[in-house]
Protein backbone atom coordinates (compact mmCIF):
# COMPACT_ATOMS: atom_id res chain seq x y z
CA UNK A 1 0.00 0.00 0.00
CA UNK A 2 1.45 3.35 -0.93
CA UNK A 3 1.44 6.15 1.58
CA UNK A 4 1.48 9.03 -0.88
CA UNK A 5 -1.74 8.19 -2.56
CA UNK A 6 -4.04 7.65 0.34
CA UNK A 7 -4.17 10.92 2.24
CA UNK A 8 -4.51 10.99 6.00
CA UNK A 9 -7.83 9.18 6.30
CA UNK A 10 -7.23 6.32 3.95
CA UNK A 11 -4.88 4.27 6.05
CA UNK A 12 -5.20 5.09 9.74
CA UNK A 13 -3.15 2.03 10.66
CA UNK A 14 -0.10 3.58 9.01
CA UNK A 15 -0.18 6.47 11.45
CA UNK A 16 1.40 5.75 14.83
CA UNK A 17 -0.96 6.15 17.76
CA UNK A 18 -4.13 5.93 15.72
CA UNK A 19 -3.95 2.29 14.82
CA UNK A 20 -7.17 1.16 16.48
CA UNK A 21 -9.41 3.94 15.16
CA UNK A 22 -11.71 2.80 12.38
CA UNK A 23 -12.67 5.34 9.70
CA UNK A 24 -16.32 5.05 10.73
CA UNK A 25 -15.58 6.83 14.04
CA UNK A 26 -14.87 9.89 11.91
CA UNK A 27 -18.11 9.54 10.08
CA UNK A 28 -20.32 10.02 13.13
CA UNK A 29 -18.46 13.23 14.01
CA UNK A 30 -18.72 14.43 10.42
CA UNK A 31 -22.45 13.71 10.35
CA UNK A 32 -22.92 15.84 13.47
CA UNK A 33 -21.21 18.68 11.64
CA UNK A 34 -23.28 18.06 8.52
CA UNK A 35 -26.41 18.31 10.68
CA UNK A 36 -25.31 21.87 11.47
CA UNK A 37 -25.08 22.75 7.79
CA UNK A 38 -21.31 22.34 7.45
CA UNK A 39 -20.72 21.92 3.71
CA UNK A 40 -17.05 21.07 4.10
CA UNK A 41 -17.96 18.16 6.39
CA UNK A 42 -20.59 17.12 3.85
CA UNK A 43 -17.93 16.94 1.18
CA UNK A 44 -15.88 14.59 3.36
CA UNK A 45 -18.92 12.45 4.05
CA UNK A 46 -19.57 12.31 0.32
CA UNK A 47 -15.97 11.22 -0.33
CA UNK A 48 -16.30 8.42 2.21
CA UNK A 49 -19.74 7.14 1.31
CA UNK A 50 -20.43 7.77 -2.37
CA UNK A 51 -18.32 4.77 -3.43
CA UNK A 52 -19.81 2.22 -1.01
CA UNK A 53 -23.35 3.45 -1.69
CA UNK A 54 -22.92 3.37 -5.47
CA UNK A 55 -21.26 -0.05 -5.42
CA UNK A 56 -24.00 -1.62 -3.35
CA UNK A 57 -26.85 0.11 -5.19
CA UNK A 58 -25.39 -0.94 -8.51
CA UNK A 59 -25.37 -4.58 -7.56
CA UNK A 60 -29.04 -4.29 -6.64
CA UNK A 61 -30.32 -1.99 -9.38
CA UNK A 62 -27.84 -3.11 -12.10
CA UNK A 63 -28.35 -0.13 -14.43
CA UNK A 64 -25.53 2.39 -13.89
CA UNK A 65 -27.46 5.57 -14.70
CA UNK A 66 -30.26 4.59 -12.33
CA UNK A 67 -27.78 3.55 -9.66
CA UNK A 68 -26.08 6.92 -9.85
CA UNK A 69 -29.45 8.56 -9.49
CA UNK A 70 -30.24 6.53 -6.38
CA UNK A 71 -26.80 7.29 -4.95
CA UNK A 72 -27.28 11.04 -5.43
CA UNK A 73 -30.73 10.84 -3.85
CA UNK A 74 -29.37 8.96 -0.86
CA UNK A 75 -26.54 11.42 -0.33
CA UNK A 76 -28.88 14.38 -0.57
CA UNK A 77 -31.19 12.63 1.88
CA UNK A 78 -28.19 12.35 4.17
CA UNK A 79 -27.60 16.10 3.99
CA UNK A 80 -31.27 16.74 4.73
CA UNK A 81 -31.66 14.29 7.59
CA UNK A 82 -28.20 14.26 9.19
CA UNK A 83 -29.73 15.63 12.40
CA UNK A 84 -31.77 12.43 12.71
CA UNK A 85 -28.75 10.18 12.90
CA UNK A 86 -28.70 8.45 16.29
CA UNK A 87 -25.45 6.73 17.10
CA UNK A 88 -27.13 4.71 19.83
CA UNK A 89 -28.91 2.82 17.07
CA UNK A 90 -25.82 1.81 15.13
CA UNK A 91 -22.83 3.09 13.21
CA UNK A 92 -23.11 5.91 10.71
CA UNK A 93 -22.05 3.62 7.87
CA UNK A 94 -24.73 1.10 8.75
CA UNK A 95 -27.36 3.87 8.94
CA UNK A 96 -26.46 5.18 5.50
CA UNK A 97 -26.16 1.75 3.90
CA UNK A 98 -29.56 0.83 5.31
CA UNK A 99 -31.16 3.93 3.80
CA UNK A 100 -29.39 3.27 0.51
CA UNK A 101 -30.34 -0.40 0.40
CA UNK A 102 -34.00 0.36 1.03
CA UNK A 103 -33.98 2.95 -1.72
CA UNK A 104 -32.35 0.53 -4.13
CA UNK A 105 -34.83 -2.20 -3.28
CA UNK A 106 -37.77 0.17 -3.62
CA UNK A 107 -36.48 1.19 -7.02
CA UNK A 108 -36.21 -2.39 -8.22
CA UNK A 109 -39.55 -3.51 -6.79
CA UNK A 110 -41.48 -0.54 -8.18
CA UNK A 111 -39.85 -1.05 -11.53
CA UNK A 112 -40.70 -4.71 -11.61
CA UNK A 113 -44.32 -3.72 -11.48
CA UNK A 114 -43.84 -1.55 -14.53
CA UNK A 115 -43.09 -2.36 -18.14
CA UNK A 116 -39.39 -1.65 -17.67
CA UNK A 117 -38.76 -5.10 -16.34
CA UNK A 118 -37.41 -6.26 -19.69
CA UNK A 119 -34.95 -3.40 -19.75
CA UNK A 120 -33.57 -4.34 -16.39
CA UNK A 121 -33.06 -7.91 -17.46
CA UNK A 122 -31.15 -6.67 -20.52
CA UNK A 123 -28.94 -4.33 -18.52
CA UNK A 124 -28.03 -7.03 -16.00
CA UNK A 125 -25.06 -8.05 -18.13
CA UNK A 126 -22.82 -5.18 -16.99
CA UNK A 127 -19.14 -5.93 -16.66
CA UNK A 128 -18.22 -4.78 -13.17
CA UNK A 129 -14.52 -4.75 -13.92
CA UNK A 130 -14.91 -1.51 -15.82
CA UNK A 131 -15.21 0.34 -12.50
CA UNK A 132 -12.07 0.94 -10.47
CA UNK A 133 -12.33 -0.18 -6.87
CA UNK A 134 -10.70 1.53 -3.94
CA UNK A 135 -8.06 0.03 -1.67
CA UNK A 136 -10.44 -0.09 1.29
CA UNK A 137 -13.04 -1.81 -0.82
CA UNK A 138 -10.54 -4.45 -1.87
CA UNK A 139 -9.54 -5.20 1.72
CA UNK A 140 -13.12 -5.10 2.90
CA UNK A 141 -14.32 -7.29 0.08
CA UNK A 142 -11.63 -9.82 0.88
CA UNK A 143 -12.74 -9.98 4.52
CA UNK A 144 -16.43 -10.18 3.65
CA UNK A 145 -15.73 -12.85 1.05
CA UNK A 146 -13.85 -14.92 3.62
CA UNK A 147 -16.67 -14.57 6.14
CA UNK A 148 -19.35 -15.33 3.57
CA UNK A 149 -17.38 -18.50 2.92
CA UNK A 150 -17.97 -19.57 6.52
CA UNK A 151 -21.74 -19.67 5.96
CA UNK A 152 -23.58 -22.80 4.89
CA UNK A 153 -24.62 -22.81 1.26
CA UNK A 154 -28.28 -22.28 2.09
CA UNK A 155 -27.45 -19.42 4.44
CA UNK A 156 -25.23 -17.77 1.86
CA UNK A 157 -27.72 -18.15 -0.97
CA UNK A 158 -30.57 -16.82 1.16
CA UNK A 159 -28.57 -13.78 2.26
CA UNK A 160 -27.24 -12.98 -1.20
CA UNK A 161 -30.55 -13.42 -3.02
CA UNK A 162 -32.22 -11.15 -0.49
CA UNK A 163 -29.54 -8.48 -0.29
CA UNK A 164 -28.50 -8.18 -3.94
CA UNK A 165 -31.39 -9.91 -5.65
CA UNK A 166 -33.95 -7.76 -3.81
CA UNK A 167 -36.18 -10.77 -3.26
CA UNK A 168 -38.40 -11.06 -0.21
CA UNK A 169 -37.89 -14.09 2.02
CA UNK A 170 -40.91 -15.91 0.60
CA UNK A 171 -39.67 -15.28 -2.95
CA UNK A 172 -36.27 -16.64 -1.89
CA UNK A 173 -38.03 -19.69 -0.46
CA UNK A 174 -39.77 -20.20 -3.81
CA UNK A 175 -36.50 -19.81 -5.75
CA UNK A 176 -34.64 -22.27 -3.54
CA UNK A 177 -37.57 -24.65 -3.12
CA UNK A 178 -37.52 -24.65 0.68
CA UNK A 179 -40.06 -23.70 3.33
CA UNK A 180 -40.41 -20.01 4.21
CA UNK A 181 -39.72 -20.77 7.87
CA UNK A 182 -36.42 -22.37 6.88
CA UNK A 183 -35.38 -19.38 4.81
CA UNK A 184 -36.23 -16.96 7.61
CA UNK A 185 -34.05 -18.79 10.11
CA UNK A 186 -31.24 -19.32 7.59
CA UNK A 187 -31.15 -15.60 6.89
CA UNK A 188 -30.95 -14.82 10.58
CA UNK A 189 -28.40 -17.53 11.37
CA UNK A 190 -26.33 -16.52 8.35
CA UNK A 191 -26.23 -12.87 9.37
CA UNK A 192 -25.36 -13.76 12.96
CA UNK A 193 -22.46 -15.87 11.73
CA UNK A 194 -21.37 -13.08 9.40
CA UNK A 195 -21.61 -10.51 12.17
CA UNK A 196 -19.45 -12.63 14.49
CA UNK A 197 -16.93 -13.38 11.77
CA UNK A 198 -16.59 -9.68 10.85
CA UNK A 199 -16.29 -8.73 14.51
CA UNK A 200 -19.08 -6.14 14.46
CA UNK A 201 -21.40 -5.88 17.42
Amino acid sequence: MTHNEGGPRRDPAAEPGRAAEPPTADLAVLLARVARGDQVAYEEVYDQLAGPVLGMVRRVVRDLAQSEEVMQEVLLELWRTASRFDRDKGSAASWVMTIAHRRAIDRVRSEQKSAERELRAASAQIDYDEVTETVEATLDRERVRRCMGSLTELQRESVTLAYYGSYTYDEVAGLLGVATGTVKTRMRDGLIRLRDCLGVD
Partner: protein, 262 residues
Protein backbone atom coordinates in the same frame (compact mmCIF):
# COMPACT_ATOMS: atom_id res chain seq x y z
CA UNK B 1 -42.80 -16.53 25.41
CA UNK B 2 -45.96 -16.36 23.39
CA UNK B 3 -46.02 -18.16 20.09
CA UNK B 4 -46.85 -15.07 17.98
CA UNK B 5 -43.89 -13.26 19.44
CA UNK B 6 -41.33 -15.95 18.74
CA UNK B 7 -42.71 -16.36 15.25
CA UNK B 8 -42.25 -12.64 14.74
CA UNK B 9 -38.75 -12.84 16.07
CA UNK B 10 -37.59 -15.05 13.20
CA UNK B 11 -38.28 -12.09 10.91
CA UNK B 12 -35.12 -10.41 12.28
CA UNK B 13 -32.96 -11.85 9.48
CA UNK B 14 -35.27 -10.98 6.58
CA UNK B 15 -35.92 -7.56 8.14
CA UNK B 16 -32.22 -6.72 8.38
CA UNK B 17 -31.88 -7.70 4.71
CA UNK B 18 -34.96 -5.67 3.67
CA UNK B 19 -36.39 -8.96 2.44
CA UNK B 20 -39.84 -8.35 3.90
CA UNK B 21 -43.06 -7.07 2.40
CA UNK B 22 -44.39 -3.71 3.58
CA UNK B 23 -46.91 -5.48 5.77
CA UNK B 24 -44.31 -7.71 7.44
CA UNK B 25 -42.06 -4.72 7.92
CA UNK B 26 -44.76 -2.77 9.74
CA UNK B 27 -45.59 -5.79 11.92
CA UNK B 28 -41.98 -6.36 12.84
CA UNK B 29 -41.36 -2.67 13.56
CA UNK B 30 -44.29 -2.64 15.98
CA UNK B 31 -42.67 -5.61 17.68
CA UNK B 32 -39.26 -3.88 17.70
CA UNK B 33 -40.66 -0.88 19.53
CA UNK B 34 -41.35 -3.07 22.56
CA UNK B 35 -38.45 -5.51 22.40
CA UNK B 36 -35.14 -4.12 23.53
CA UNK B 37 -33.11 -7.25 22.82
CA UNK B 38 -34.55 -7.36 19.27
CA UNK B 39 -33.38 -3.80 18.70
CA UNK B 40 -29.90 -4.80 19.75
CA UNK B 41 -29.95 -7.86 17.51
CA UNK B 42 -31.16 -5.88 14.49
CA UNK B 43 -28.42 -3.38 15.12
CA UNK B 44 -25.75 -6.10 14.91
CA UNK B 45 -27.32 -7.73 11.85
CA UNK B 46 -27.56 -4.35 10.13
CA UNK B 47 -23.85 -3.77 10.74
CA UNK B 48 -23.20 -7.09 9.05
CA UNK B 49 -25.40 -6.36 6.01
CA UNK B 50 -23.85 -2.89 5.73
CA UNK B 51 -20.44 -4.54 5.50
CA UNK B 52 -21.62 -6.70 2.63
CA UNK B 53 -22.69 -3.50 0.89
CA UNK B 54 -19.54 -1.51 1.67
CA UNK B 55 -17.38 -4.31 0.30
CA UNK B 56 -18.90 -3.67 -3.14
CA UNK B 57 -17.66 -0.06 -3.22
CA UNK B 58 -16.76 1.43 -6.59
CA UNK B 59 -15.41 4.82 -7.57
CA UNK B 60 -18.19 7.14 -8.75
CA UNK B 61 -17.70 9.51 -11.69
CA UNK B 62 -16.00 12.61 -10.26
CA UNK B 63 -18.49 15.05 -11.81
CA UNK B 64 -21.28 13.62 -9.64
CA UNK B 65 -19.65 15.16 -6.61
CA UNK B 66 -20.04 18.75 -7.78
CA UNK B 67 -23.68 18.04 -8.56
CA UNK B 68 -24.25 16.57 -5.10
CA UNK B 69 -22.57 19.50 -3.32
CA UNK B 70 -24.61 22.00 -5.33
CA UNK B 71 -27.81 20.11 -4.61
CA UNK B 72 -27.02 20.11 -0.89
CA UNK B 73 -26.22 23.83 -0.90
CA UNK B 74 -29.74 24.62 -2.09
CA UNK B 75 -31.55 22.04 0.04
CA UNK B 76 -32.96 22.88 3.40
CA UNK B 77 -32.07 20.56 6.29
CA UNK B 78 -34.47 19.00 8.75
CA UNK B 79 -34.20 20.11 12.37
CA UNK B 80 -33.41 17.40 14.95
CA UNK B 81 -36.37 15.37 16.21
CA UNK B 82 -38.31 16.63 19.21
CA UNK B 83 -36.16 17.22 22.26
CA UNK B 84 -38.62 15.30 24.39
CA UNK B 85 -38.38 12.22 22.20
CA UNK B 86 -38.66 9.17 24.47
CA UNK B 87 -35.53 7.67 22.90
CA UNK B 88 -33.27 10.33 24.40
CA UNK B 89 -31.18 9.18 27.34
CA UNK B 90 -31.41 11.15 30.61
CA UNK B 91 -27.94 12.60 30.16
CA UNK B 92 -28.76 13.88 26.73
CA UNK B 93 -32.07 15.28 27.94
CA UNK B 94 -30.37 17.16 30.77
CA UNK B 95 -27.89 18.56 28.32
CA UNK B 96 -30.66 19.79 26.05
CA UNK B 97 -32.61 21.26 28.96
CA UNK B 98 -29.60 23.43 29.76
CA UNK B 99 -29.37 24.57 26.17
CA UNK B 100 -33.09 25.33 26.18
CA UNK B 101 -32.69 27.67 29.13
CA UNK B 102 -29.97 29.46 27.26
CA UNK B 103 -32.03 29.88 24.11
CA UNK B 104 -34.87 31.19 26.25
CA UNK B 105 -32.80 34.15 27.38
CA UNK B 106 -32.88 35.58 23.90
CA UNK B 107 -31.89 39.24 23.98
CA UNK B 108 -33.48 41.91 21.80
CA UNK B 109 -32.25 42.96 18.40
CA UNK B 110 -29.29 45.24 18.55
CA UNK B 111 -26.94 46.77 16.00
CA UNK B 112 -27.98 49.14 13.20
CA UNK B 113 -27.97 48.56 9.47
CA UNK B 114 -25.23 50.32 7.59
CA UNK B 115 -26.63 50.52 4.10
CA UNK B 116 -24.09 53.11 3.05
CA UNK B 117 -21.22 50.76 3.76
CA UNK B 118 -22.74 48.03 1.61
CA UNK B 119 -20.67 48.74 -1.47
CA UNK B 120 -17.43 48.76 0.52
CA UNK B 121 -18.42 45.51 2.21
CA UNK B 122 -19.14 43.83 -1.10
CA UNK B 123 -15.75 44.87 -2.40
CA UNK B 124 -13.94 43.41 0.63
CA UNK B 125 -15.83 40.16 0.23
CA UNK B 126 -15.14 39.99 -3.49
CA UNK B 127 -11.41 40.49 -2.90
CA UNK B 128 -11.29 37.92 -0.08
CA UNK B 129 -13.20 35.46 -2.24
CA UNK B 130 -10.74 35.96 -5.06
CA UNK B 131 -7.80 35.26 -2.74
CA UNK B 132 -9.48 32.13 -1.37
CA UNK B 133 -10.31 30.84 -4.84
CA UNK B 134 -6.79 31.30 -6.18
CA UNK B 135 -5.19 29.76 -3.10
CA UNK B 136 -7.31 26.65 -2.96
CA UNK B 137 -7.63 25.07 -6.36
CA UNK B 138 -7.73 21.59 -4.90
CA UNK B 139 -11.03 22.48 -3.26
CA UNK B 140 -12.47 23.64 -6.53
CA UNK B 141 -15.82 21.95 -6.15
CA UNK B 142 -16.37 23.33 -2.67
CA UNK B 143 -15.27 26.78 -3.73
CA UNK B 144 -17.55 26.76 -6.73
CA UNK B 145 -20.46 25.84 -4.54
CA UNK B 146 -19.54 28.45 -1.97
CA UNK B 147 -18.87 31.07 -4.63
CA UNK B 148 -22.24 30.47 -6.19
CA UNK B 149 -23.97 30.63 -2.81
CA UNK B 150 -22.20 33.90 -2.02
CA UNK B 151 -23.15 35.33 -5.41
CA UNK B 152 -26.77 34.34 -4.79
CA UNK B 153 -26.84 36.35 -1.55
CA UNK B 154 -24.95 39.31 -2.99
CA UNK B 155 -27.25 39.52 -5.98
CA UNK B 156 -30.50 39.02 -4.09
CA UNK B 157 -32.92 41.93 -4.37
CA UNK B 158 -33.31 42.04 -0.58
CA UNK B 159 -29.64 41.85 0.43
CA UNK B 160 -28.95 43.75 3.64
CA UNK B 161 -25.70 44.43 5.41
CA UNK B 162 -25.35 44.35 9.20
CA UNK B 163 -22.28 44.85 11.35
CA UNK B 164 -21.57 44.33 15.01
CA UNK B 165 -18.64 44.61 17.36
CA UNK B 166 -17.33 41.42 18.88
CA UNK B 167 -16.99 42.00 22.62
CA UNK B 168 -13.58 40.33 22.77
CA UNK B 169 -12.29 42.45 19.89
CA UNK B 170 -12.88 42.84 16.16
CA UNK B 171 -16.00 43.28 14.07
CA UNK B 172 -18.40 40.97 12.28
CA UNK B 173 -20.18 41.82 9.06
CA UNK B 174 -23.15 39.97 7.66
CA UNK B 175 -24.85 40.18 4.30
CA UNK B 176 -28.26 38.70 4.60
CA UNK B 177 -30.93 37.66 2.15
CA UNK B 178 -34.27 36.45 3.46
CA UNK B 179 -35.18 35.48 -0.05
CA UNK B 180 -32.19 33.14 -0.34
CA UNK B 181 -32.57 31.95 3.29
CA UNK B 182 -28.84 32.57 3.53
CA UNK B 183 -26.27 34.95 4.85
CA UNK B 184 -22.62 35.61 4.18
CA UNK B 185 -20.50 36.12 7.27
CA UNK B 186 -17.15 37.84 7.46
CA UNK B 187 -15.16 39.13 10.40
CA UNK B 188 -12.07 41.26 10.82
CA UNK B 189 -9.41 41.59 13.49
CA UNK B 190 -10.85 38.92 15.80
CA UNK B 191 -8.64 38.10 18.77
CA UNK B 192 -6.43 35.08 18.07
CA UNK B 193 -7.55 32.10 20.16
CA UNK B 194 -5.32 29.63 22.01
CA UNK B 195 -4.84 26.24 20.38
CA UNK B 196 -7.81 23.96 21.04
CA UNK B 197 -10.38 26.78 20.82
CA UNK B 198 -12.31 28.08 17.84
CA UNK B 199 -15.02 30.58 17.07
CA UNK B 200 -18.40 29.00 16.39
CA UNK B 201 -21.31 30.77 14.72
CA UNK B 202 -24.91 30.15 15.77
CA UNK B 203 -28.40 30.69 14.44
CA UNK B 204 -30.86 31.35 17.24
CA UNK B 205 -34.58 31.67 16.78
CA UNK B 206 -37.98 30.02 17.09
CA UNK B 207 -36.56 26.88 15.46
CA UNK B 208 -34.02 26.61 18.27
CA UNK B 209 -30.31 27.29 18.52
CA UNK B 210 -28.35 25.62 15.73
CA UNK B 211 -24.66 25.75 14.97
CA UNK B 212 -23.95 27.55 11.72
CA UNK B 213 -20.43 26.14 11.66
CA UNK B 214 -16.94 26.91 12.88
CA UNK B 215 -15.31 30.08 11.58
CA UNK B 216 -12.51 29.31 9.17
CA UNK B 217 -8.96 30.36 10.02
CA UNK B 218 -8.08 34.02 9.81
CA UNK B 219 -6.12 35.18 6.76
CA UNK B 220 -4.34 38.48 7.18
CA UNK B 221 -6.83 39.54 9.83
CA UNK B 222 -9.87 38.62 7.72
CA UNK B 223 -12.19 35.70 8.33
CA UNK B 224 -14.59 34.36 5.74
CA UNK B 225 -16.59 34.79 3.66
CA UNK B 226 -18.60 31.96 5.08
CA UNK B 227 -22.03 31.06 3.77
CA UNK B 228 -24.74 30.05 6.18
CA UNK B 229 -27.87 28.59 4.65
CA UNK B 230 -31.10 27.38 6.21
CA UNK B 231 -31.99 30.74 7.73
CA UNK B 232 -35.41 30.61 9.36
CA UNK B 233 -37.82 33.42 10.21
CA UNK B 234 -36.91 35.15 13.45
CA UNK B 235 -33.32 33.91 13.53
CA UNK B 236 -30.56 35.92 15.15
CA UNK B 237 -26.86 35.27 14.73
CA UNK B 238 -24.45 34.73 17.60
CA UNK B 239 -20.78 33.96 18.09
CA UNK B 240 -19.10 32.02 20.90
CA UNK B 241 -15.71 30.49 21.65
CA UNK B 242 -15.91 26.67 21.72
CA UNK B 243 -13.53 23.69 21.77
CA UNK B 244 -11.84 23.35 18.37
CA UNK B 245 -14.11 20.50 17.18
CA UNK B 246 -17.21 22.58 17.83
CA UNK B 247 -20.11 22.10 20.22
CA UNK B 248 -23.68 21.03 19.58
CA UNK B 249 -24.96 23.88 21.75
CA UNK B 250 -23.22 27.08 22.89
CA UNK B 251 -21.17 26.37 26.01
CA UNK B 252 -19.88 29.89 26.63
CA UNK B 253 -21.29 33.40 26.61
CA UNK B 254 -22.12 35.12 23.32
CA UNK B 255 -19.36 37.50 22.30
CA UNK B 256 -21.39 38.89 19.40
CA UNK B 257 -25.07 38.90 18.67
CA UNK B 258 -26.82 40.29 15.63
CA UNK B 259 -30.55 40.62 15.14
CA UNK B 260 -31.37 39.84 11.54
CA UNK B 261 -33.97 41.59 9.48
CA UNK B 262 -37.28 39.95 10.35
Amino acid sequence: MRRGRSELHTLAGPYALDAVSGEDRARFERHLAHCESCGQEIRGLREATARIGVSAAVRPRPELKGQALRAAARTRQLPPVSRDAPAASPGWRGFLAGARGMAGRRAGLWPPRLAAALAAGLLVIAVTMGVLMVGAQHRLDTDQVRGRAIAAVLNASDVTMLTAKVTTGGTATILESRHEHSLVFTAARLRALPAGSSYELWLMGPEGTRSAGMLPASREGMIGPMVVSGLAAGDDVGLTVEPAGGAARPTSAMIMKLGLVP
